[in-house]
């Protein structure tokens, strides 16, 4: 017993040790209290540094300080500049950056930091520069610019790097100031210090990136060899490939400029440079196999490196090359096969998928054997990659579908998450569609799968497919059992889609119909109403007096409107007024802008912009039919003739204001009707006598002829008010309308619904609404622009040239002109390829009055970003050509 005692004690000690942390039980409030030591007249430097560490620890763990707390800490920290302790000063720099004081607080430390910036100690200077540039705003920058400029060429690399990296960040917010450092930065590129060279080159390129000629010169001079730093060399390789991308090959020898430089880098002593160059070569557009060979050779050497990072980098790059140049990668197949057993599963997966891409038909069987073993011990995400590779392999070698389909069905039966199973099912669905021979076996694999499938989404997908494909197979009856089993065993969603699938068999296969009817009738007693509704509906159709063609179209064609559009139409549909009109649902999806850049941020922005445009209600011809019906139902507007065009919704209020109003401009040959869609978003109010008063002092060509009030507008129910104008004849009437919403407010008790009788008059200022030339042009789609162009008499052509001024890019100029004209871009010519210096854009439309207009826009941009445009218009009506020119001329 006595012997055991110390052993047990020792163990306890060790446990305590592992639990030990200097921050154990740390608490924000207490640390903030401790921070008062910063205010002591006799500063204890070590103690202060400890407290700063604790504050940083809290921030690092995700703790946040309130505005007041941050301000207090910041002010206290500024006191610490009094201390001469070096370690403490370094911590002060760090915490100022972490707290990132607000603009009005920055001023407190500015002078201390500026003093440090002029200190004799280089490390103080470097740190002070970094801190000051991080927290400063543009105004202060002017004051310290001179120091920064000098710092760029400082002899101490730490100072120089600090200034250069800070410049790199400042370039976003204060480009003008940083651009003035060009000469100093250029000098720093020649620095002997490796990192300084890297930072200077990055900044120099960033400053000049929009000037192609300057970048090209930079690359030309530097590739002759003064760059020693490996990181800078990697940058130079990136810039070089950009220049190569933008220039054309030498027409005589067919040689690519700078290719020799890239190839030379393959012999560099730093691995990161070798790899960067090899990757750059594989990514050259239109790379030849001769150019590829040396790059592939070094990547092949990487494959057998002892370092996982190098193997990964190489196999990932080769994997990409295999998509476009499979033969070039085939030399690496032996090394690649040995990577299948690599400990790093990412590397193994990439190796397998590369092999699947480069493999030929005869190697498929051997490969599949290796993969089957491999699949057992990798994670789902890797399995998905393999499944996708197998799918494309199968599409490449359709004769091998049997073995590949078997493989897919085997892994379908094994354990796996939703995403993985989904990838397999989707692959089988694609193979069924693409390879007719694979259909029957694929369908039966899927049937077996749904017998034991835990994912509703996949079951319904498969049932849908069975319904469409099953009836057309040799023996449709064998699928009925699988489908009906779903009705008996599954949840409501799956049961409902099973009923739909059954109905399709009933409609398509006459011999099965009586039996199907029996099965569907049983579903009439289902306890879910969707299932019962479907069963009732299908029974009616199938018994429906023999109109077979009708029921088949109903069952087999999918809804011809996008579901999103249907959803938004249904949401805005107000049950009380009129029946929901299916034909009023927009049929076209709003095109997403083609302007997708590589960076995820801009991609996201483009997507959001697309969605926003969509939410704003992109209205197509079918929607304007609905508008026409609506307008014609009012006697005031029914005599206006044929509606020419209705604009998209224009928001006249900010989001989330008390009253939300948007407007539609309806254009008639002689009239314009403004429709105001108003929504009251205040629960406590009922609005009566709602009208919009329109002031036309900036739209003198318009004379108000009629208006229509909205008698009552309760909370949340949208309603419309209208105002109609007559246009002055013989001219293109444009102008700005300023609008005021007038109404009588009645207070409502939201709980009881009671409302007071009196109420009071009130008004609400709306934003202006503008009728522009584009409102008189209808977008029309021309499938053969060339043909349509030639079909119009060339005599009716008008050409003129315009200067558009300075634009950020050609794309911006093109977009601006399209918006002004409101016409439909044809043949995808609305998107400008990046870095293009000239562009031709084709537009088609119909002008008010009915004349067709075709427009050819030729743009050019020069180094100063001046954009010039040549506008060629053809129309059946020469008058219209002149008007289009007038629109551009006055814009």
């Amino acid at each position: 017993m006595a012997q055991l005692q110390p052993v047990g004690k020792k163990d306890d000690d060790r446990e305590d040790d592992s639990e030990y942390s200097p921050f154990y039980g740390i608490e924000k409030g207490a640390v903030l209290q401790e921070a008062r030591v910063f205010n002591d007249p006799q500063l204890d430097a070590r103690r202060c540094a400890q407290v700063i560490t604790k504050l940083l620890y809290l921030l690092n763990q995700g703790e946040t300080f309130t505005k007041t707390e941050a301000t207090e800490v910041f002010f206290a920290v500024t006191k610490l500049f009094q201390s001469k302790d070096i370690g403490l000063r370094r911590m002060v720099y760090l915490i100022i950056k972490e707290i990132s004081p607000s603009a009005d607080e920055v001023i407190i430390v500015t002078s201390s930091l500026m003093k440090d910036m002029n200190s004799k100690t280089d490390l103080y200077r470097a740190n002070a520069i970094r801190v000051l540039c991080r927290i400063t705003d543009g105004g202060l920058l002017g004051q310290i610019e001179r120091y920064l400029k000098q710092a760029v060429v400082d002899k101490n690399p730490v100072v120089s790097s600090a200034a250069l990296v800070s410049g790199f960040h400042l370039l976003q917010s204060n480009p003008d100031i940083v651009k003035r450092w060009s000469n100093e930065v250029q000098e720093a590129v020649q620095s002997k210090a490796s990192l300084v060279q890297f930072h200077a080159l990055a900044l120099l390129h960033q400053i000049r990136q929009n000037d192609r000629l300057a970048v090209s010169k930079l690359v030309t001079s530097l590739t002759r060899g003064t760059v020693r730093s490996p990181l800078a060399q990697c940058l130079l390789i990136r810039y070089t490939s950009q220049v190569i991308e933008e220039s054309s090959a030498n027409p005589q020898s067919g040689d690519r400029p700078f290719y020799d430089y890239l190839e030379g880098c393959l012999r560099h002593k730093a691995e990161m440079v070798i790899f960067e160059a090899a990757r750059a070569i594989t990514e050259l557009s239109g790379v030849t196999s001769r150019e590829l060979t040396p790059a592939i050779t070094v990547l092949q050497l990487f494959l057998s490196s002892s370092k996982p990072v190098m193997r990964f980098a190489a196999v990932r790059t080769l994997n990409k090359v295999a998509m476009t140049h499979p033969p070039a990668v085939m030399n690496c197949n032996i090394d690649m096969e040995s990577l299948i057993s690599d400990q790093n599963r990412s590397i193994a997966t990439l190796a397998i998928t590369t092999l699947l891409k480069t493999g030929n038909e005869s190697s498929v069987d051997r490969l599949m054997k290796q993969i089957t073993n491999f699949m057992l011990d990798i994670a789902d995400e890797f399995k998905i990659v393999v499944v996708e590779a197998i799918r494309s392999l199968c599409l490449k070698f359709p004769q091998k579908y049997r073995i590949l389909m078997n493989f897919l069905s085997n892994i379908l039966r094994e354990e796996g998450g939703f995403e993985y199973k989904k990838a397999i099912v989707e692959s089988i669905l694609i193979l069924i569609r693409e390879i007719p021979e694979a259909k029957e076996s694929g369908l039966s694999h899927l049937c077996e799968f749904i017998e034991d499938c835990e994912f509703t989404y996949l079951s319904t997908q498969i049932l849908h497919l069975l319904g469409n494909e099953g009836p057309r197979t040799a023996d449709p009856s064998k699928y009925i059992r699988y489908i009906y089993n779903r009705v008996v065993l599954e949840n409501a969603t799956v049961r409902a889609s099973a009923v739909s699938a059954l109905a399709k068999f009933g409609a398509a296969v006459e011999s099965l119909q009586p039996r199907i009817l029996v099965l569907i009738r049983r579903c009439l007693y289902d306890n879910d109403d969707e299932v019962r509704d479907r069963a009732t509906l299908y029974l009616n159709y199938l018994n429906g007096g023999g109109n077979e063609a009708h029921s088949k179209t109903f069952l087999f064609t999918s809804l011809d409107v996008p579901l999103v559009n249907l959803e938004s139409s249904l949401l805005s549909y107000d049950a009380s007024e009129r029946r929901f009109d299916m034909s009023a649902v927009p049929r076209e999806m709003k095109h997403q802008p083609m302007l997708e850049k590589k960076t995820p941020a801009s991609k996201k922005a483009a997507k959001e912009a697309g969605q926003k445009a969509f939410a704003n209600g992109h209205l197509t011809s079918s929607a304007s039919d609905a508008y026409e019906k609506l307008l014609n139902s009012f006697p005031e507007f029914s005599g206006f003739g044929k509606l020419f065009k209705s604009s998209p919704l224009v928001e006249l209020t900010e989001a989330e204001t008390e009253y939300s109003v948007n407007a539609v401009k309806h254009i008639y040959p002689q009239y314009v009707v403004l429709q105001f869609n108003c929504t009251n978003t205040i629960k406590e109010q009922l609005l009566d006598d709602v009208s919009v008063v329109v002031d036309t002092s900036e739209a003198e060509d318009f004379i108000q002829v009629a208006s229509r009030k909205l008698s009552s507008m309760p909370y949340g129910a949208p309603g419309q008010a209208f105002v109609a104008f007559q246009k002055t004849e013989g001219r293109l009437c444009v102008g700005k309308f300023s609008n005021i919403l007038k109404f009588r407010v009645k207070e409502v008790d939201p709980n009881t619904g009671d409302c007071d009788d009196e109420g009071y008059e009130d008004e609400y200022q709306l934003e202006e609404l503008e009728v522009t030339a584009a409102d008189y042009v209808l977008k029309t789609v021309v499938t053969n622009f060339r043909g349509a162009w030639d079909a119009i008499n060339a005599e009716n052509e008008m050409v003129d040239e315009y200067g558009i001024g300075v634009r950020e890019s050609l794309q911006e100029a093109v977009q601006a002109v399209i918006t002004i004209l409101g016409m439909q871009p044809c043949e995808g010519t609305e998107s400008v390829s990046s870095n293009a210096r000239s562009h031709t854009c084709l537009l088609a439309g119909q002008f008010i009055g009915g004349a067709q207009v075709l427009v050819r826009l030729q743009f050019g941009i020069d180094a100063q970003k001046q954009v010039a445009m040549k506008l060629t218009v053809r129309s059946d009506d020469p008058e219209v050509c002149a008007q289009i020119h007038e629109i551009i001329g006055s814009a």
């Binding site: 070590r46 911590m91 100690t121 890297f198 960067e276």
Partner: protein, 178 residues
């Protein structure tokens, strides 16, 4: 084609349970604490069973390239975008890893890191500034963290590893205990 300098998205130092020891994010790909913690958890779970002790390991997680290296109860990670040069990321990782080792006199474990958290945080600050690689030579990083050369006028480039070590020793000597 957008050409960019190599960018570091984040540097993470987690313990053997995936908890934060010190982290630094340089990208707003992760806008809030929850998404950061989710990323750390995802990366940790996907790598915890891998032995990344002798050589740095690498993987693609959630669309990012992550290089990592483990020692005792600590996991070091460096994350870059999906088309970043993997070898550059590995160089940054090595710089961080070695600089911490120099500063902690090769005594790299969670306990000593926490006891010298100030040094490790400064290390992160000296390696990357706003996503741009500031320095990846471990000796230089360690010397700058220790503010070596701030008292004397010895240019940093002439500092030796032994000087950096001396600074580190000095710091460890005044190891603070709460």
């Amino acid at each position: 084609m957008e050409v960019s300098a190599p960018l570091i998205k984040n540097i993470l130092l987690l313990d053997s349970e995936g908890k934060r020891v010190a982290v630094k994010y340089f990208s707003d790909d992760w806008p809030n604490l929850a998404s950061k913690l989710a990323f750390e958890k995802s990366v940790f779970t996907k790598t915890q069973r891998i032995s990344a002790r002798a050589e740095a390991e690498i993987g693609m997680f959630d669309g990012y390239v992550v290089v990592y290296k483990f020692i005792s109860d600590l996991h070091f990670y460096v994350t870059g975008g999906d088309d970043e040069n993997e070898l550059i990321l590995a160089t940054v990782l090595q710089g961080f890893f070695d600089a911490v080792a120099i500063l902690l006199r090769s005594n790299v474990e969670k306990k000593t890191v926490l006891e010298n958290l100030d040094l490790v945080l400064l290390c992160l600050d000296e390696i990357v500034d706003g996503g741009i690689i500031l320095e990846c030579d471990a000796n230089v990083i360690a010397a700058r963290v220790a503010m070596r050369g701030a008292e004397a006028d010895v240019p940093l480039s002439e500092q030796t590893i032994s000087q950096a070590l001396a600074t580190a020793k000095e710091h460890l000597a005044r190891n603070w205990v709460l």
